[in-house]
Assembly symmetry: C2
Homo-oligomer: 633 residues x 2
Amino acid sequence: MQVKLNDQFWQPKVQQTVHETIPYQWKALNDEIEGAEPSHAIENFRITAGEKTGTFYGMVFQDSDVAKWIEAAAYSLRQFPNPQLEEAIDAVIDLMGRAQQPDGYLNTYYSVAEPEQRWKDFTFGHELYCAGHLIEAAVAYYESTRKRDFLDIMCRYADYIDRIMGPDSDKMHVYCGHEEIELALVKLYRTTNEQRYLNLSQYFVEERGKQPSFLKEEPGFGGPAKDRWFDLDYHQAHAPVREQETAEGHSVRAVYLYASMADLAIAYGDTTLIEALRKLWEHITSKRMYITGGIGSQGHAERFTIDYDLPNDTAYTETCASIGLVMLAFRMLQIEQDSRYGDVMERALYNGVLSGMSLDGTHYFYVNPLEVHPAVAHYRYDMKHVKTERVPWFGCACCPPNIARLLTSLDKYFFTQNGAEIAMHLYASNESTFDVEGRQITLRTETHYPWDGKIQVVLQTDEPTESTLSFRIPSWCRHPHITVNGELLELDAIVKRGYAQISKRWMNNDEIKLYFPMVVERIESNPKVHENAGKIALQYGPLVYCLEEVDNGSDLTDISLPVDSEFIAEYREDVLDGIVVLSGGGQRSDLSWKDELYRPVKREKMSVPISAVPYAFWGNRKPGEMAVWIREK
Amino acid sequence: MQVKLNDQFWQPKVQQTVHETIPYQWKALNDEIEGAEPSHAIENFRITAGEKTGTFYGMVFQDSDVAKWIEAAAYSLRQFPNPQLEEAIDAVIDLMGRAQQPDGYLNTYYSVAEPEQRWKDFTFGHELYCAGHLIEAAVAYYESTRKRDFLDIMCRYADYIDRIMGPDSDKMHVYCGHEEIELALVKLYRTTNEQRYLNLSQYFVEERGKQPSFLKEEPGFGGPAKDRWFDLDYHQAHAPVREQETAEGHSVRAVYLYASMADLAIAYGDTTLIEALRKLWEHITSKRMYITGGIGSQGHAERFTIDYDLPNDTAYTETCASIGLVMLAFRMLQIEQDSRYGDVMERALYNGVLSGMSLDGTHYFYVNPLEVHPAVAHYRYDMKHVKTERVPWFGCACCPPNIARLLTSLDKYFFTQNGAEIAMHLYASNESTFDVEGRQITLRTETHYPWDGKIQVVLQTDEPTESTLSFRIPSWCRHPHITVNGELLELDAIVKRGYAQISKRWMNNDEIKLYFPMVVERIESNPKVHENAGKIALQYGPLVYCLEEVDNGSDLTDISLPVDSEFIAEYREDVLDGIVVLSGGGQRSDLSWKDELYRPVKREKMSVPISAVPYAFWGNRKPGEMAVWIREK
């Protein structure tokens, strides 16, 4: 399968990532961005290799920033060859080789800052986590360039880990407090075909949650706060993975674990893992997910709290957690073609992930609340984690390179193929080629998605080919219709679990047209979500919209929408580099309010025009208030 | 002036305080309450006196719990003589005498735990704060019993403080991080007529806020968190008091300071202080006060945040802060007879203060949020400070004895007298005697307030007496009328700044009838209060109402009130020992919700009966949700 995006929505973002973000982040990793928090990540490797003097600086998992950056860059090289970039990466890889210890160990923090603490703290040491990201980077770089150096370095590291950890009685019986190595080892196995790596991944997943947990004896257990929010469930270690029926703890850790469970379920054909994953998926998406696809509502411990507790203004909803949800959703689609996965993947991607990066690709949100009042957020202790404007970099910089690696590998999330069945999960113009039982099929997709729901797919093949092409019917679409060569399909007959499955002997130039009419929709929340009572969110296609102060004035909470006010969707080239703006009528308090704080209710309102923009694009103009959920009157 | 409450609302609470709470708190101070957090407060004095071995236990300001308890008990002795109680107090006073240092110093924490740190930390040492509460207690005990021992002890302490602190160059130029001594010294001055005490109070107030502030050099500066919320403004030390135009910092400290400023304004006739107080009053009550009279919205640093930031579910609104607001309001009434002070005094008293104590007088709230969802509050990190049920005692037990001393001195807040002018600020049945230019007037007031707005006042006097009787027209009352001996008064002509001023030559058995019709009112918030947008609070007379889960089911946020639904107020003897219950019609989501978290808006509602009880009485039945602000539809 070869997928080439060439659309007007994602491809400019991918190109921006390639041409702006990756070079920018390279500078950040080298501490060359003025005004940004320092990274020191490359310097740490130089110190570890003994080529510079100095002390380690940064988070204990600083190495992973370099890893994610290489991974992002590696993906980019597939479509955008760049010898200079490759040279820079090769130099870092060489440096890593020199920083690697004779036994294979590779970690700048523990090599430089606390050598005697190696493998002493699995709760917050992040050694296996960093190893995981380096492995993912090595695999990506090998897949793109076929250069083996980095892969060899990481195989040496993985072999070392496999020698000292695992089920045998003479090995350490451990797993990492932050899941990641599990995902990486599966990739390493797929690339090297070395079964040991797969088995080690399985071991880490199976070992997790056995009681009593060794994590409780680790020095870092309980985190700096030593409180209940950093208990075993923070690490998803409160129960064996198959017994976990609710998504708990640190949200990024959680979805990384579940994604690795999905990989193992596929690799081993393990249906008990699939059963567990279905429950966890259902739990997250029906009880603990924001409408933006954000997860993890609490800043303290960056974690899930309780069902339906989805506050908007203190929401944590880390960008990385939404990225993890995309990763999980795609793996679930590999297991079973069901649009509930594709729908959430789309939701998270177009909203909770995309909001993490500025339009120009150089500023980031770590935290993605659904309502922001800057003056309040700047002052309140319980909103310390909320930034009201994107910033150029973070001391804890997990999110920026995570977005970058997702965007440069975004093509991987569009299709799955299973024999002669090809399923399309996301919509954007692209040209993609598939091998169907020895024959080549090319699908040329053209669309203005997400601004418009019309999608044209033209098939090219040298000879007629039997195949099933499946297309996700987006859950936001009420009246889909599909034609093949102009002929309307009877969807009831062919839609299974949210996918229109078109089986046919395909001829060259066959044309499929998908019509997913986009209208402005008002979405309400389950009444158990206290924060959203009486409120609606505006949705247009896959995009969740929001109000911004720059368009609607301050005190956004004062705005209400009459139930019958119409909204018009209009593509506006002049707004935010070109977006669909929603315009309609709302109400606000009239001007009779003086200085009183309370008064007998008057309910005197005045009509005001309301303008909404996609949530993902907020905060790219003047700083100010923002709100997704709007009161209805 | 002699005021005797004999009403059905307050007097049972006063009696309960006298017969239940004071004995209960005596046990608490002596660590005889099972299941309550230990106090050790009396034991600390024994250890200080050298009569017990052991270590100090408790907060650095543990002495103040004993002081406030004695003060409460002292007030109670006026109406409820109790030789046994007096004996117990005398014993504690003797003990204090023995615990007092030769130089007059009296503080168990610094005497036992850190003797070398005496007067070394004015930010959080609370030495002058404790001295203040002891002085207030000594004054109260002297006023009630005319026994001088305690007063003498405290004069010795005050003399010592006056010797070492003050404007002279050889003295310490300091003030306490927690205001309280300022109030106490004015009382000590009024009782002893010793001008030095008044001057010292004035010195502390005038010294406060001079820059650079000595507080910044104190070891405790910045509190345990060392963050911006514990900066100088936390102590109201960011500017000289006359330059403070906004209420900032720790809310209890703030209102204690303002109350002492009012005392000094009266004592010195200082109009510049009055000007400052008017601004501060206006600021608090028009920008930073909950509808319950609660102030201080943030748990971290127990403080004010920014204008209009009044979250309901994370509200701190400490009971002591509302008590402080009552203290301030009454002092402002002594300065100028304006119902804006009396109205807020009533609001705080009937709502934010009263909610701090259980119906049976033995369980307390420190924190008084306006919306509680127990499951959420039990889980969320940012709601750690919220208790969802009243508890028997606190490790930091400032609030329980503070309520007790307020209730046993409540009679002091009903009237002010200025020559031949008598003003009535609060309404409850009472019999009160005034000396008007040598003649005695008795006012017998009968009312079922706050359940009913009819108030009858019969005047008794031996001979006709010229006097002005003023009655506050409550701001919640839209159509007041007043008769004198059956004749309707023209209110427009006699109401000044919210008080009906009736000047006349009063005859024996003259009868004044005040009609303040109580109706169910819906109150809305200024649109700048984001949390209350689209919501109303139910008010009936001076009482703010709330919904409780026990009456209305869970997910209270799902309830909305149609704008036209009528509420009936009915006195119900069987509910909460007898209250007016408000009943009306509301709406809830229908049963079409399944497991989905979001869906296109259906707005399908069903009608439900709604029942509201006074906020002050919530949490006295089954634990559950509570909400003051209710959505309107």
